[in-house]
Symmetry: C2
Subunit: 192 residues, 2 copies
DNA sequence: CGATTCTTTGAAAACAGTCAATCTGTGTGG
DNA sequence: CCACACAGATTGACTGTTTTCAAAGAATCG
């Protein structure tokens, strides 16, 4: 039931059989159908969510009603609203399934217990956060210095495996472009 | 000598006298004069750097030769290149003093030892990283959905205390605007 | 198949960037 | 103490990229 997740974990860190049981005991499986929400803006996010199957998007709606996608999470990625999680305040993000998905939820309290009980996991978790930090940093740089075309090229270079599972206008919403601009960029690039 | 830093730390977490000594023993003081560099692109960054006095900027130069400022670090903030630090690869960033500054350097290895020896510090460090993550997240959103004017207003709201210590064209380089655009935004806003 | 959703295309408008010149203030050296 | 040089800020005119609005076409889901 949690095999995907356990495989993912034991791939990264060594776990004793007892520790594996410990992990399994705090896992909860949640199935989502396409278009179903895992988190709605305004609710407080109190989980760590591992996508074991499917694809999920984390997005935000701005004052003008426009959607901005923060992250796509396919299998073996995490999803969540860190701001809501850390500060325990209402989420600004929504999380929605783009495909029928299976999510493993670990409640915040249990997760913290895990980290304390398994030092290697604590270290791994910190590394994960540091890497995510670097990714965000590069996205800021990209946003400030790349043209629309460069942004798109960077995206297909970074995420070649998921582009065909995501509607184009959502890639635009991720890159901070209008759908029309992205469409033009794609066709124009092809011409050259 | 390291008083500022020790005050900062004991303000956040409880430390025994022995632990304080432990911390002090791994600290190194580095004085920088205005325009001096703490890190140059291409070098590997192996420290944790706490600004105990002065002001420092972390920036990157893109292919077109344009500067993009990632962060300003005044007193009681940290500076560094996390990508270089984590992956031990050549830095893409430069760090330069904007004022005569005093920096406390803790070598990577020593810092990790500290975190292991002082669990409370480990937790605090993780919280710091999580908060930084949230800040970056919001900056991405800002970059994708704010106009030039909104970006500037957000900046003065977030960092009212340092705006008068930073030349305007550097604020522009931080926000991803041209200096001319920022100048116009400021005057135009005043008119209304 | 029917309806919705997604993509493409065109034309016009808005926004920010570039280039160039001028203006301002500051600090340095004669 | 003045004059000059230099870095930074402002302004204007122009350009270019991206957005917006609108409509039509294509694809997909139920």
């Amino acid at each position: 039931m949690f095999d995907n997740f356990i495989t993912y974990l034991t791939d990264k860190i060594e776990l004793t059989p007892e520790q594996i049981i410990m992990v399994e005991q705090v896992c909860r499986l949640k199935k989502l159908r396409r278009k179903q929400y895992l988190l709605q803006e305004g609710d407080i996010w109190r989980y760590n969510a591992f996508v074991s199957k499917g694809l999920v998007r984390t997005f935000r709606v701005d004052e003008k009603g426009q959607e901005h996608i923060f992250q796509f999470s396919p299998e073996n990625w995490w999803a969540g609203d860190r701001q809501s999680y850390v500060y325990e305040e209402p989420a600004k993000f929504n999380i929605e399934a783009l495909e029928d998905s299976e999510i493993i939820l670990i409640p915040k309290g249990d997760f913290e217990t895990l980290l304390e009980a398994i030092p290697a996991y604590n270290t791994f978790q910190r590394m994960l956060l540091e890497r995510s930090f670097v990714v965000l940093q590069n996205r800021i740089h990209m946003g400030n210095s790349y043209t629309a075309e460069e942004k798109y090229n960077e995206f297909i270079k970074m995420y070649p495996d998921i582009i065909n599972r995501i509607p184009q206008h959502m890639i635009a919403a991720y890159l901070g472009l209008s759908p029309e601009t992205l469409s033009r960029v794609r066709n124009h690039s092809a011409k050259k």
